[in-house]
Structure formats: structure tokens, C-alpha cells
Symmetry: C2
Subunit: 563 residues, 2 copies
């Protein structure tokens, strides 16, 4: 079927004096068709009460995004159909745009479209199907969806409106580097001369993403010479965090209104009103912290868990995770265990105690000395003549893991693991030890970002004791151990990480760029590949970078390249 | 760019009296461009010596399949190009077809094609790019590849030859249910009237797959009215096991020659010779056992590991895994630990000891009583007033996990985990306990299949003691525990598993089909969803079914459908 354009559907919404649009930036739960449909209906009713003409919901608002292989279940899709009818029946006297998968009525490779359903007069008026289907990084849309076969304008409140789903406005600004699509829906729409563009998105957060997304809207507005409304999902689903920041910009791409980041909000736009441009402001550390807090909170609350536990070592990673957990769940719902060994320094113990105090949490102290010694004794006859090595280090980390998991089992706490991206990259973590947990809060946060977060947490007063920030990092698993015994400076690790993982530079290019010795870079790359097996068993992590291990980066364990 | 057909390239291979084709069913290592290229060159040279006109290699033979995100590294692709030139330079006086990714020279969504490179006269003569790109189940080809834009015949040895890559012959026989492609390359080729079809594949094993694949070839031969040669990859890469079974069938689809399953082999075909049809014979249990053995062996040897360790409980799962490991690695490379607790029955201890004896392995006995009691004492003040529950059961499993991992660290053994698919589905396993390991040998093998494997292992003499097969399954983590205390019969679990996981039936449909109570089915489906978080942290498993958890089934952890 050839691609169709220039087809003008007419929407039965009468032209009114004013044009009130509500962008519903809401937080769906994946697969919760009952709950999500109820929330959508609630917002439609509220929109009616408040005199809105049009209520707009984000991409796949009905299913939550990403629904993944739920989309393969026929009874799930049947229920999506049914719920959409139910929602449509609520649109007497108001219109709504609802993101939802829908059955592909044509012959095609895949049985579904990823669509914006246009609802009004109590009925489903039509669909705009997503044309560009991201299939890279964390996205797998070609696994489920057929590419939309046409674009059209809709007459809403007397205006000719273009409706697009997420990626369809991205290609135009050259912000997508992983796919070079053959079509550019913005260029196609431009021939139809729309008076307004509405984009519904489920565009996940990464550190620079909100600003990039705003620029994408600006560019679309300028090309189409019309205002742009973007309605983005908010909330976290597994590893992906959606930041919201739904927005309204004028035909010059000037920002006129913007919803908050990282929380539900209804952005009410009156197109007949005149707005003054506002400036685009983002605080990077605040956003990163907010993203992680939202990621933890939604992981817990969407599953019905209330409380977390974690091990506090006196180091910076667990300190930052404790702060995030206290913010996300309430300090009363965070159990911290201090589990010193014979190698724990007095300073670490003091630092851990002080941090807990600052957070208003009473830590539980459980020395691992006795079970650790018990294991050493038990294994001694089997390890005769063998020198101590990482075996004994891992035994300590795993003993701590067992204790944390026992608290988890007994009290229903979810364990938070505290390893950061730099350590996960290097394999500097113990599988079934400090890698235990339901969620890896810092899995995608580099060591340098952990320090930046600590400074941001301390911005008003010292919560994380200064000594935790300033002392050299150590796992304290053998006498006087320092991370720098086994690893180069985190500055170097993080630079290689960025260049190799995100930008796909070769070791030679990385060595040249930073003037590092080639063998150093090759060694780090080798460590990244060789610890793939560990990461494969790590708890799911919260994605905050352009390229997170596991969720957006899919590497074989058994392979020889760079290895 | 529109799809082109009917274009006839001419290949510079002169017509000879005979037409000798070598199908090289070989086992590449993913990412090992140096090693794979060397092997390819070796087979080309050997082909020349033996008077072959054409040497055929499997899909992505140069990179190994699946190369996953290695395909996103520009320096990797540059090296693929370079190695292909090197291989081409070896084709003086012989032709070769080599599966490889190649750069997409046209504008397009993705920068690569998945191609068959046609080599001869020391040069790259051309490419046939794969048209149908599987993007379902374990396949993600749209993540990397652009769909081929044309098909063509090649003149080889005076014959008009159609060359296809894997999926391109599958759609025609309606064997692909997950995608209904708009094009059917077999129908397109039929217009060109080829005299021979060559298909290069990396088609992974599942229990019924070899037979389905043979039928796919039969159907293509019958439609095209010409013989078909299929060259399939063999070997295991991470979770995927490739069975080989490269074959030659005549224009009626009759099987004329077939390579062995699960091992490297060169299938030499002389097209001028007359062959007698042979029958297609598959032993299901033997194949399943061979697949698992190959999966273990390649996981170890391709990474340079020699030895395994595992816990032997006296139950059927660890018994079957011990047999597989001994076959894959040699009994001298398998360390088995028997780690009884206060709840282990005498029968289990005797059974474990006898099994080990039968395998010629001396088991190590390490009671977990002391560390288990130590943990109970340590935690007692923190768990005051709480009744024993799964906490204490998991403590035992995790203590065993720690001991196994200590042996792994100290001796370089890779731990094999022994949980089966039915248990993994139900969450009937302890995270960081019996789920510890580098590889989950039975992750995709149902409990019923485990019993079938045990019978097959015992086909000539009793290796697995009869009592292990006949006693009711138990985790032995509390007094007189039986699996049936917490789970319905495995017969029921496995039926629900098959219907829900593979066939995507709804709970209502499943209940109707088997006349099970609906609430029983709903409870089992709920358990499947609720244990997603555990499976996400399980070791990679060997895939042997049409739908394996994790690798081919991608479900959110945080979601509410059926949950």
C-alpha cells in the first residue's frame, strides 16, 4: 500500500469562540487497562466541567508505555478495543485524543498500529497511526507495530490540526541519530498547511533529553509555521523514566507554557488567549535526582510495595541511594543496615551512622564477622594451600547480600542495590553480593554523576557527611583496599565509558582523543565486555543516560570482539 | 526505492561438467572476526583441494549470529568489510557464498544489510540482501538491518541460482506466524525460474524446529520446481542453540542428503550425481539432550572456561544437569557439591551419592548446618516474634549459593544452575540461591521434559537412580516439604505454561480447553507475571522451546495485566 497524504478528514467538533485544550500529563501503569481507562475518563469529565474543547493524552496512555509483549496477547488487545469504546462514549460535547495501540485493519507485516485515537460525539472518529517506529536503543516498536500508511489533518474548533505520535516529529530536527528514516512526517504535513500541531509522546528521560525535546518542538513549529502542543507521559515503568515537561510553543518555536517535570499535571491552554514567551530552564542535577526519586517511587508503589532496605557502607553510593530512597518512600519506610566486617574502617562506621542520623533513620548494626568466619572455617579444608583472593572478598559481599535478602523476605522490604554505572561497567561489583536487589538505583549513574548528586543533596545543608564525599572510594573488602588499586581514576573510566558505550568510538579513537595510552583504553574496553555476564544478572536499573546497560545496550555474553 | 526483481546478474564461474558444492556447517564465535575468517578461508582452501566449485557458509558466518549491538560499532563493521575482502582474495578458481552484514550503500532507515556475499575470481562479485527481517521472539533484525531492495539470479556452473538468507524462504510455507510479511521472496523468485535455490541460515533450534525447517525447504522446492540447498549455522551463542541439519532436497522436496545435528560438518553435494531419497528422522529426546550439551559446551569453551560446579540435591533437576555437564565438559571437569541441611532426607543423600558414582564423579560433602544456624542466630534478635516462613527456606538456598560461588571464585569453575522452566515460571526458586550460576541449563526445559530427558539418559543403563525419577519432587527446605504443597501437578503447570506462554491463549480459553477451574488458571498466570522480577535476574538459559523466558519473551516487571 502506497503512502497517502493530503487527505483531509473532518472532525465533528463545532467551531467555538475559544479553543481550550487540556494536555493531561499523567502516569499510567503498564497493563492496567481498568485503572488507566478510569483515569482517562476522569480527566475527560473534568475537562467537560472546566469547559475544555479538547483533552489530550500521551502515547499509549491506555496501556502505559512500553507495554512490551503484552501487545502480543490477543485478549489484551481485545480489552484495549473495548476500553477505548468505553472512553469514546464519554466524549459527548468534548473531543479527546488518546494514545493507544489498535488493530491493523489492513494486510501488513504486523497486526497493530501505535495510534492516536481521535474521539468525539461519543464515538471513535478516527486514528492517526504512528509513521516512524523507533527500533533502536530501548525501543522495539517494529516488533509490534506496522508503520502508519497515511497522514491527515483534522478540523478541530475550526482549526486544521495535524496530530502526530512521538517519533514522527523527531526525525525532522535530526535529533534521531540511530535511524535515518526515509519519510519526514513534518515535511509531509507541511504540504497540508496545518494551523496547529499536536504531538502525543512517551518520550523517556535522559540527562539532556528534555532540552532536546523542546528543540524538536521548536523546529517543527518553525517549519510548519504553526504552534505546537506536546503531551508527554510522566512516571517510571521498570527502567524507563518519563519526565513529562509537556509544552506549548508558538509558530516561532517560542515556549509559551510548560508543565512541570516528573509529576502529573494538567496543562490548560487557551488558544484564543495571548501568551508571553517564557524561557526554557532546566537544572541538571535537580532533574537527575527527581528522575531517580520518581523511578524508585513508581517501582515500589506501582507494585504495591511500601518499604525498602539497603546496606549502608559509609561510602558515597549507598549514601546517595539512602537519600533518594528517603525522598521517594519516606524515611520511615527505609531500613538501613550497617554490616561492618573486620576490614571496615572506623571512619566508615562513623560516616554511615551520621548520614543515617541526618536522614532521621536509625540504622541497624549487624556485624558480618561471625558468618564470614564461619564460611572461612567451613571452606578451609577445601581451599587448602590456596591464597586469599577475590573469593574471600566476595564472601563478605555475599554474606551482606544474604542478610539484606532475609530482611526483605521477613518484612516485605525491597532491597535497593547501590552500585553505580562506572562500577557496573568495570565489573567492580559482587554478583549475589552488593548486586542483590529489586532495583539498581544508580546502575546508569556514573561515579562522577554520583558526586554531583551528593553535592546537590547537600545544597542547603550537610546531609551526606563531607568525609563521605572527600575520602577515596574503597570497597573495604581487604586491608587498606582502595578502588584505585584495581581501577584507573574514575575520571578516565567515565570518559572511556561515554566514548565507547554512548558514542561508539573505537579504542584507538578514544586513546587519541584524550591522549590516553592505547593499552589502558583497550584494557577498560575488555573489562566492559568481560563483565557483561554480571550485568545480565543485575537488578533492573533506572535509565538516565542515552545508553544504559542491558535495557538499551544489547551485547552477547559469549563473544570475542574487544575481548 | 521500489522493490526490484527480474534482474539477472551473471556470475563469472565457468560452467563445468560437474557441480560440486560444499555446505560448510560451521560453528563461529560471535565477534571473532579473526577466528571466523580464518576458518572460512581454511574451508575455501580445502574446497579447492577437493575440487569443489562452490563453498557455502551460513548466515552471518563471518560475525557469528546473532552479533547483536556489535553491529552498531563502526570499527566492527569496518573490520567486517576488511575481512570479507581478505576472504574474497582466496576465491581464485572457486566461488563462495558467505553470510555477512554489509554497509547499506543506499539511503535507508538502517545502515546495514544482512547479506549473502557472492565471491569468486578473488573478488566480491555481489550481494543478495535479506528481504524479510524477523523482528519477533528472539529476533531483532529491524534494529540493525534494512530490508533488501531486490532479488536476482546468479549464474553458477551454468545454472541459474537463487540465493536467499534464512527468513526469505520461511514466509512461503506459512511457518512464520509472528509476522505476515507483504512480500514472499519465493513467489518473486518463481517468476525468474531458478534452477537451484541456495538458502544460508542461522536458524536456531527448538524442539520441533528441525522438522519444520525441512518442511519449509520442501515447500520452496515444490513451488520453484528446483532443488534446494540449505546451509545452517551450528553451535550455541549465549541462549541460542543452532542445530545445523544442513540439507539438500530435490525439486519434489524429497530429502537427498542431510548433515548431522549439533556438530560441525561439511556436506558435499555433487549436482551431477543421482541421489536416492532418504527419510527424515529425528529423535526428540536425543536432540534435546544434544542441544543442551552443545549449549553448555559452547558457553564454556567459547569463553575459555573448562570446568563447572553444581549443587547435587538428590532431586531430578540437578541429576539431569550433572549428566549434561559430564557429557559436555568431561566428568573430570565437573565438581559436584552435596550440601545437605537438617531437612535433607537420607534418601536424597543416598541418591545424590549414587548418581555421582554412576557418573564417575566424587562428590564433595559440605553440610550447611553450621552457616545456616549462624545466620539464624545472627538474625534472631531482629526477627523476634516473627514466625518461620520463606525467609528461613531462602537462607538455606542462599547459603548453598554462597558456597558454590566460593568454589567458582577459587577454582575458576562456572556454576551451573539447575532450575527448570516450570519452576522458573512459578517463581519456585530462590534468587541468589539455587538461581546462582553462569548458565541456567534447564531454564527452558519443562518439568515433564526433565523426566523425559532422565529416561533418555537411562536408555541403556541406570545412570540416574530410579528413586530420583520416581519420588515426588521436593525442595527439602522445611520438614516433609513437597512441591505439591505449593503448586498444582506439574502436568497442569506445564499445560498452562504452553497455552499461555507459547500460544497466547487467555485464562478463559485455557480453562475451557482443559476443563480446569478458571481461578486455578488465573492463579497460575498471576504467578507467571509476579515472578518476572526473579527471571530478570536469572542466569541466561539455553533456549529449546518456541518461547523462552527473557530471551524471546519480553515482559515488564511492573505491570498489572493478569497480575
Amino acid at each position: 500500500m502506497a503512502f497517502r497524504e493530503r487527505i483531509l478528514f473532518s472532525m465533528t467538533l463545532e467551531a467555538k469562540e475559544s479553543m481550550n485544550i487540556h494536555l493531561i500529563q499523567f502516569n499510567p501503569i503498564v497493563g492496567d487497562l481498568v485503572g488507566n481507562a478510569e483515569k482517562i475518563i476522569h480527566h475527560i469529565r473534568q475537562g467537560k466541567q472546566k469547559g475544555a474543547n479538547l483533552v489530550v493524552f500521551s502515547e499509549c496512555a491506555l496501556t502505559g508505555y512500553p507495554p512490551e509483549d503484552l501487545l502480543l496477547l490477543p485478549h489484551f488487545i481485545d480489552d484495549v478495543d473495548y476500553k477505548l469504546q468505553l472512553i469514546a462514549s464519554e466524549t459527548q460535547g468534548i473531543s479527546a485524543i488518546v494514545g493507544t495501540p489498535r488493530k491493523n485493519p489492513h494486510a501488513g507485516e504486523k497486526p497493530l498500529y501505535n495510534s492516536a485515537a481521535i474521539l468525539g460525539d461519543g464515538e471513535i472518529i478516527g486514528f492517526q497511526d504512528k509513521v516512524l517506529l523507533p527500533t533502536y536503543d530501548v525501543f522495539d516498536e517494529r516488533r509490534y507495530f506496522e508503520s502508519g500508511k497515511d497522514i491527515a489533518l483534522w478540523e478541530i474548533g475550526g482549526k486544521k490540526v495535524a496530530i502526530t505520535v512521538c517519533e514522527d516529529i523527531w526525525h525532522h530536527s535530526e535529533a534521531v541519530i540511530q535511524s535515518s528514516y526515509e519519510k519526514d512526517p513534518i515535511i509531509l504535513f507541511n504540504q497540508l498547511e496545518p494551523e496547529l500541531l499536536i504531538n502525543i509522546s512517551s518520550s523517556p528521560y535522559s540527562v539532556n533529553k528534555p532540552t532536546v525535546r523542546f528543540n524538536v518542538c521548536t523546529k517543527a513549529a518553525q517549519t510548519l509555521n504553526c504552534p505546537v502542543l506536546l503531551c508527554n507521559q510522566v512516571g517510571a515503568n521498570d527502567s524507563l523514566i518519563f519526565d513529562g515537561y509537556s509544552l506549548f510553543c508558538d509558530k516561532n518555536g517560542e515556549l509559551l507554557a510548560c508543565a512541570s517535570g516528573f509529576q502529573e499535571e494538567t496543562l490548560e491552554i487557551d488558544l484564543s488567549k495571548s501568551y508571553k514567551p517564557i524561557s526554557w530552564k532546566i537544572n541538571t542535577e535537580k532533574n537527575l535526582f527527581s528522575a531517580l526519586v520518581l523511578g524508585v517511587r513508581d517501582y515500589f508503589h506501582k507494585q504495591g510495595f511500601k518499604s525498602a532496605c539497603l546496606g549502608l557502607s559509609g561510602g558515597i553510593d549507598s549514601a546517595v541511594v539512602a537519600c533518594i530512597a528517603a525522598e521517594a518512600l519516606g524515611k520511615e519506610n527505609v531500613t538501613v543496615l550497617c554490616m561492618p566486617s573486620r576490614y571496615s574502617s572506623d571512619a566508615s562506621k562513623t560516616d554511615a551512622e551520621r548520614l543515617a542520623q541526618n536522614l532521621g533513620i536509625k540504622p541497624l548494626w549487624i556485624s558480618i564477622e561471625s558468618p564470614f568466619q564461619n564460611f572461612l572455617d567451613l571452606l578451609e579444608p577445601h581451599f587448602e594451600g590456596k591464597s586469599p583472593d577475590t573469593t574471600e572478598e566476595n564472601l563478605q559481599a555475599r554474606t551482606r547480600g544474604i542478610i539484606l535478602m532475609a530482611f526483605s523476605n521477613k518484612y516485605g522490604h525491597v532491597v535497593l542495590s547501590t552500585g553505580n554505572k562506572s562500577e557496573m561497567a568495570m565489573g567492580y561489583a559482587t554478583l549475589y553480593g552488593d548486586m542483590c536487589g529489586g532495583l539498581g538505583v544508580l546502575n546508569d549513574v556514573t561515579k562522577r554523576q554520583v558526586y554531583a548528586l551528593a553535592e546537590w543533596i547537600n545544597r542547603d545543608k550537610e546531609i551526606i557527611p563531607r568525609n563521605i564525599i572527600e575520602k577515596p572510594p574503597s570497597a573495604e573488602l581487604r586491608p587498606d583496599q582502595k578502588d584505585s588499586d584495581s581501577l584507573p581514576d574514575y575520571e578516565i573510566v567515565d570518559a572511556v565509558l561515554e566514548d565507547y558505550i554512548i558514542d561508539h568510538l573505537s579504542p584507538e579513537q578514544i586513546a587519541d582523543k584524550h591522549e590516553y595510552p592505547l593499552d589502558l583504553v583497550e584494557d577498560l574496553v575488555k573489562r566492559i565486555h568481560q563483565s557483561e555476564y554480571k550485568r545480565r544478572q543485575s537488578p533492573p536499573g533506572l535509565r538516565v543516560s542515552e545508553k544504559a546497560f542491558s535495557v538499551g545496550r544489547r551485547f552477547p555474553i559469549v563473544q570475542k570482539w574487544g575481548n
